[in-house]
Symmetry: C2
Subunit: 792 residues, 2 copies
């Protein structure tokens, strides 16, 4: 299909060009690669720009996003220059979408909790009833079988239908907001599996959370609503055309992730701060305002829905679920002498958090190796985790001695059935099993018990220690299974038990009650593992509903984050790097100041002429994976070669599909764009991007021309080849680019010498090209344990 | 002093250059200005880049800041590539500074409150005592005289010592964080006058606030501490050299302003969010973390200090002051039927807020005209406002009828002396004057009374209406006086009275108590005037210490901001534009997409050669006000003219001062930089920048040369002249630049054709050059009232 001329032009050098149209040329001339020592090195390591730097043990093919406003003749104006009616449509639709996101996320959040509480509740009620009838073995078998079935279900649907839903989804959403589009993370299928899988996994008593999946769900809903429903089912609406771009979608996904946290913890302000602190890479003031609107809707609606359930219409939901540990009524007073134990709590929490991250990273690497072996291995692993969990949850309480119910207990003791502080388990009447109160419960209820006040005598230190150790390791070994599971709740429950333990050990030398210690312990482990500050602080405040705790929580978070940062990094960043996402950091590494952009830019560069032969375009699109191509005007259309702009692969495909071809290479007038609407060039719906292979062209059409000028972004950002890489990164990251053109310093050569993409800024790529620079990496003030890394 | 050659070279055209060193040339060749229609226009309107676009009725000379990292040979490496010890120094010092800022700000905040409560308290006690003795006239005279004296003192020290401290200071700090450095806003003198003046002004019973001045104070402390103390008094320390740049100073000023709000409202999270939402133009995750640390310190220390005062050691402080309206104990329950009144409250609050902003803008313009006439007018205006205020505060309560004390009052009734709900004023025993409870009190106490629960029957609607109207207009007419006064507290007190009024009018049809209505009213007016959302919400929550209020406050803020945004803009933005600060918006106006950078860039451009004659440099520095100059290598040092980089005026002055001159124009080696340390080129301390006029050079020295290469930023950001202005703005704003070089599209001309600075992006400047574009301004969906603007 490709004409000989085209194939020929691929290898022809610039200097030999005669007709001015054979423009598929190598942007890095040969003489250049002789003088610059780095260029040869570069050539040998990488061939095309878009295939580099996907690292980690589990690489996944990702696409970059364009957060910059396109500026070609078709898109010349952004929405602000539109008519008042269009602006009204745009603005009102954006607010409506935020409103819808809030509504849908809160409904799903409520439904999730309802489902989990009822499924897990029925399981616990049935098991408890059998235990009351002394059928302990049968109780265990039913308990374990129910857990295994639920885990198996979650793992099966994840593995077979939507493998991209495995894990919490927070790293994927974070990467998306940074400009990395992992495949299918925002499809309708992903949404459904995420919700159903998360319900099954959490109900199966695994030590996993529902907050992370809720964030992903929120982001997914945002991405889907901003598409205007599913294109497949013809549900799109004209107004939604405004949102067919990466910028608006990014904004709404940010709102969606804020709404997700708000729904998970009923923490509206915390949700906004979480999105700001942990998720978003670009933030605007207007976004704060919209995210806040979404989370406000979530908070109000969730409150209403939970109130509805108070009258007992929601089955077993209403007494537990939707964690909200109301400790308002505790009159907290603390003095200077309470500060040292709190500081100690923070320090140990920070160390525990960093150990947690370290071990989780190692386990995830191990699990990746197992999971890569095939579906059967994935399912086996999940089943193994489920069985071990069931054994521990059912078995460990037997080691606790039964204790008599306290006389002044504020709740019925022993509790029989689902939730409650004093579980009977195997004990005789009027006795309770303290370990069962923690183990034989949903995580939400365990947290509630640990946070509760006036229960300082309920638990024995040994029991809490056993619970802490079990939770710590169970949560590490549970996260890696192939199911939609989160990390937040396991870390909170582990941290709360640790805090309670510290409270018990310190005893009466502090006048803080043990529930408060549990809250602070949760804060310290969260801070040590997730490394957020303000957002965690506000989430915990909203959870516990007591602002007087603020200074203490702040102190613990600051200490634990500082301590943990001295050892390793944020858990989500670790997972992102394991997944191989090319996440673009804000700061430039020091060695980037010693390199110029020409030291990392990789060839060969494909250039199009302003008026280009169809066959050339088709050939280049078929043979490369590049997503952007420089357009250069050359003689006879200009006196000297001049860089005209940058054209995107997707726009070229649209042009080829519309077949707006010219018989001769003559420039077209302004009316050429009349055949196109801005919508033709808009970002396609999720997963519906067209491929060059789908376009069929005749031999005659191949010999025709396209005038690319009107469809080219005529204002691409450029850097001079001698610009330091650090400054290029600042530009790339600051503006949110996908392509950055490199222009030559002197004018004798081609007007463009390369294109920088996200991958060219990845430390792995740069250090691969220039290994001698590894020494001048950013020196964090961090303790190193080479021995540890050897052992594990 | 200037050699004839130099003077000559000023007028010589580029083409006539022979020796290649007479480089003071006009960057826009004449032929260019004939072909491009805009260039002539531009020439006639403006001469130099740095003198344009200072608009508004009260222009003030400002300097732009450079938030980008300098990259010349001396500064090649940023701190991350330094040795571990240096990194440790840098990091620990940065945290220490945040800690210090927190400590100092909380101490000052505490001291402020202590002073205000004691000064105002003594005044009220003396007056009350005289009234008890029935000496009403004398009481009034003492009251009025005390107020007048305090106002006069505040106005005098402001006018005579530090005029830049007038107003709240929030607009100045906000502009600084955007990159606009108004003169002397962060000097030690400013700090002292701000503190003392604010204490005097607030104590004088003017309806003004202390929160705004507290923000400025916090920012000032941050700027001063990061300078490492005062250079004047030799208190600098070597470690502080790391902070001699605009970026680090900006970060610390952001932390300082967060600490300021935290100290004013004892709202640590609210302070961070305020800095994020309202103040900062650039935000990094690390900043959140540092600002949070500062505000945590403030919160903890303030709590400790206030606790100390509970035992009565702080004079009259301890019972009032440091507003913290503890409404925790109110059991709030609200239902769906409470939503409509709350919505109504929000709508009216939004309208009232926008009217407030509108009137305040008009009054400020009027006051500016009066204040410009001279010091006497400023003082007279302040005295007039003080006398009117005293008359209203003392006079209006006489219109209220005395009411018998309620039998079940939780406080002593009537209160005699300073603070309390039931003021006796002129009433007979066992009666109280409801208006005096509001008027004859500090603002803090008035707010506390309005927010208080269980006082639904205390006030009559007419009294609250009188109070609302008086506060509304008093606060508008008080802000413009030349003294350090803020807006937050007046808006809160006005809003609280409005909310209380709505509560009284709605009466029993809502089961929210009136104190709650007052809180919501304050939220609605704050939202309508300041247009913040999340930060105001959190500040109010921290003030009232009741998280259950969250959904209602959110709702009110969202509604009132939305309504108010339909009429006009944020109050601080209005004040900034009145002050003529060239504030750089994040969004590009639509007409910027229709312009290229060459349409706005203004000449003449001054260019230096890589090796330049000293006389030329001196001449250019003396005759222009430019702060950055392109450096171009020309034959014989290069084959063709090549853009080498950008050099700053301050660095040129350093070079001239050090006299590192060459006898012949030969390039120097790397060792040339050994005579300089990075510190020589660091940002000078506040107000200590050296001037070219201070440097004396001999005739011989004038004929020598300087090799500029090692001191030039060799990686300046560049845009092609055909780049759309909107995209150039995105780059300029995104990276935080001060200068942006414009390079030509084709290579026949000079390698640089212009420099873009902040002023070139100001809408006033652009629309001045291209008035026909005014039509395509950003169309806000906003109601217009041309009639109103005519009347006022």
């Amino acid at each position: 299909m490709i004409s000989p001329q085209v194939v020929n032009s691929r290898v022809r050098h610039r200097g030999a060009m005669a007709n001015g149209f054979a423009s598929i040329s190598n942007g890095v001339p040969d003489e250049e690669s002789i003088t610059a020592p780095f260029l040869r090195l570069r050539r040998s390591t990488s061939n095309t720009t878009s295939q580099i730097a996907i690292v980690g043990s589990n690489p996944c093919p990702v696409e970059s996003l364009d957060y910059e406003i396109m500026e070609n003749d078709v898109f010349k104006q952004d929405w602000r220059s539109r008519s008042k009616i269009q602006i009204f449509q745009y603005t009102s639709l954006k607010w409506t979408l935020c409103f819808l996101i809030g509504i849908v996320v809160s409904l799903i959040g409520f439904f999730n909790n309802l489902a989990i509480e009822n499924i897990a509740g029925v399981k616990f009620v049935v098991t408890s009833n059998m235990m009351l009838a002394n059928k302990y073995l049968a109780a265990f078998l039913i308990f374990a079988a129910a857990n295994l079935g639920l885990t198996l279900f979650a793992c099966l649907i994840t593995t077979l239908i939507a493998p991209e839903t495995a894990g919490s989804g927070i790293p994927e959403v974070k990467a998306y907001l940074n400009g990395v589009d992992a495949p299918a993370i925002f499809s309708f299928r992903t949404l459904v599996i995420k919700i159903v899988g998360s319900i099954a996994a959490v109900s199966s008593s695994l030590n996993v959370g529902k907050a992370g999946p809720m964030v992903h769900t929120g982001a997914c809903i945002a991405a889907l609503t901003c598409q205007g429903g599913s294109e497949k089912y013809g549900l799109t609406w004209r107004w939604f055309r405004f949102f067919n771009n990466d910028r608006d979608r990014r904004d709404l996904v940010t709102c969606g992730s804020a709404a997700g946290i708000a729904a998970a913890f009923r923490a509206p302000v915390g949700g906004v701060l979480f999105a700001l602190e942990e998720m978003a890479s670009w933030w605007r003031s207007a976004l704060l305002w919209r995210a806040f609107f979404s989370t406000a809707i979530v908070a109000i609606l969730l409150r209403g829905l939970t109130d509805l359930c108070l009258s007992g219409k929601c089955g077993l939901f209403g007494t537990g679920g939707l964690i909200m540990y109301d400790v308002t009524s505790v009159n907290i007073s603390y003095h200077l002498k309470d500060v040292p134990p709190v500081l100690l709590l923070g320090v140990i929490g920070g160390i525990a958090g960093s150990v947690y991250n370290f071990l989780l990273g190692k386990v995830l690497r191990l699990y990746n190796l197992i999971n890569e072996k095939g579906t059967a291995y994935k399912i086996l692993l999940a089943c193994l985790v489920s069985i071990v969990t069931s054994c521990l949850l059912f078995g460990l309480p037997w080691f606790a001695t039964c204790r008599p119910c306290p006389v002044d207990a504020s709740e019925p003791c022993p509790t029989i059935g689902r939730s409650g502080n004093y579980k009977k388990f195997q004990c005789s009447p009027d006795h309770y099993n303290e370990l069962a109160s923690l183990f034989f419960n949903t995580n939400d209820d365990a947290i509630k018990n640990l946070f509760s006040k006036g229960t300082d005598t309920e638990f024995h230190p040994t029991s809490v220690l056993i619970f802490f150790i079990t939770c710590f390791f169970l949560s590490i070994f549970s996260y890696g299974i192939v199911a939609p599971v989160g990390l937040f709740i396991p870390v909170i429950v582990t941290g709360a038990s640790y805090g309670r333990l510290v409270g018990l050990l310190i005893g009466s030398s502090s006048n803080l009650n043990h529930g408060l210690f549990a809250v602070l312990g949760a804060a310290s482990l969260l801070g040590g593992s997730m490394r957020m500050t303000v957002s965690l602080c506000v989430i915990l405040l909203e959870l516990t509903n007591n602002l007087l705790l603020l200074p203490l929580i702040m102190l613990v978070l600051l200490v634990s984050k500082t301590v943990a940062d001295a050892f390793n990094g944020n858990i989500y960043d670790q997972i992102m790097s394991l997944k191989g996402f090319p996440y673009l950091e804000t700061h430039a590494e020091p060695y980037m100041r010693q390199l110029t952009v020409s030291d990392v830019v990789s060839g060969p560069l494909r250039i199009f002429n302003g008026i280009e032969l169809v066959a050339n375009i088709v050939h280049v699109l078929r043979t490369t994976g590049h997503n952007g191509f420089p357009v250069v005007d050359e003689p006879p259309h200009s006196e000297a070669p001049i860089l005209y702009g940058l054209i995107l692969r997707s726009h070229l495909i649209t042009l080829l599909k519309k077949k707006a071809f010219l018989l001769t290479p003559t420039p077209t007038g302004e009316d050429a764009i009349k055949h196109f609407s801005a919508n033709d060039f808009a970002k396609q719906g999720l997963g519906t991007a067209e491929k060059i292979e789908d376009i069929e062209l005749t031999e005659d059409e191949m010999e025709m021309y396209i005038d690319l000028h009107h469809f080219t972004n005529a204002s691409p950002y450029t850097v001079v080849e001698t610009m330091s890489l650090a400054k290029a990164l600042t530009l790339f990251r600051g503006v949110g680019l996908r392509h950055l053109l490199v222009v030559p310093k002197t004018s004798e050569r081609l007007p463009v010498v390369g294109i920088l993409t996200r991958h060219d800024f990845m430390p792995e790529h740069i250090l691969g090209l220039h290994p001698m620079l590894a020494k001048s990496k950013w020196k964090r003030l961090r303790f190193k344990f080479p021995l540890w890394n050897k052992i594990f």
